[in-house]
Subunit: 157 residues, 2 copies
């Protein structure tokens, strides 16, 4: 089994755009691709939250739980996101998304921040069980990668 780590595969986006997963500007019903990518972010958020609560001292550092959360982020990052991002699911085209058109227009930039995030979560997984200070420092790099993507590719509320 080969798991592609492609964050955004231009070829598959093209294929999906031609399939039944293309949505019109007027479609108001739930879009399964949008729901899935937002759901994916909720899974990320829960696991980052476990670590963030420890980093802020709101919960005791727990090496086992920290390692589970960090490993989950690595595993989650191995999901191939091709189906998440069909053409026509940006903020200019549909409601219920904060995904800016820049995601589709700037594939190189998205790839860069994706690589930054992948490096950060792999680093976090490597040290999450090694104590609070090590975990906290590595979590900071993950937060920077999250922010880098959100700054450029997510519509502010």
């Amino acid at each position: 089994m080969t798991i592609s780590r492609t964050f955004l595969s231009a070829a598959v986006i093209g294929a999906v755009a031609l399939s039944t997963m293309t949505f019109s500007a007027t479609a108001q019903e739930a879009n399964p691709a949008v729901e899935a990518r937002q759901g994916y972010m909720q899974v990320m958020s829960l696991n980052i939250g476990v670590l963030g609560q420890m980093a802020r001292g709101n919960t005791d550092y727990d090496a086992e739980a920290a390692q589970i959360a960090a490993d989950n982020l690595v595993t989650l990052n191995q999901i191939n996101q091709s189906f998440f991002w069909p053409q026509g699911t940006d903020t200019d085209t549909i409601e219920g998304t904060r995904a800016l058109p820049a995601i589709w227009a700037d594939f190189a930039g998205v790839t860069d921040v994706s690589t930054q995030y992948a490096t950060a979560v792999e680093g976090l997984s490597g040290v999450a069980g090694d104590g609070l200070d090590a975990m906290r420092a590595a979590l900071g790099s993950v937060g920077s990668a999250c922010g880098a993507c959100h700054d450029d590719y997510r519509q502010p509320r």
Copy 2:
């Protein structure tokens, strides 16, 4: 890096139940654990949907896309779900969930259906790129596993 495939870790559920992730019966705000597990289901659903559309003949069979979707299901199943299921997040306790108390009361049964699902998605991943008929048959086993869990552990709408 070790990825635990534990669907429901009783020990971690206990730990989480004692942490800040416990929610009261009156809490109406979004529960991050509930949002994450529902989001996880959306990611499953999107990928199963790609395969289901092919199986029903609504889209052409595409070996590459089918393999991506099947591999995604295997990867997703490697997420450790410990943080998804804190005590006090069942239908008897909070709103906004269909997770029946039986999930927490019948750990052995949940483990059984989880194992059935894991076997089914691994089987699917093994044949998803081998043609429509092979994929469709293996997808049927995945659907049976989904149904087995939903029948016993998910509240009907």
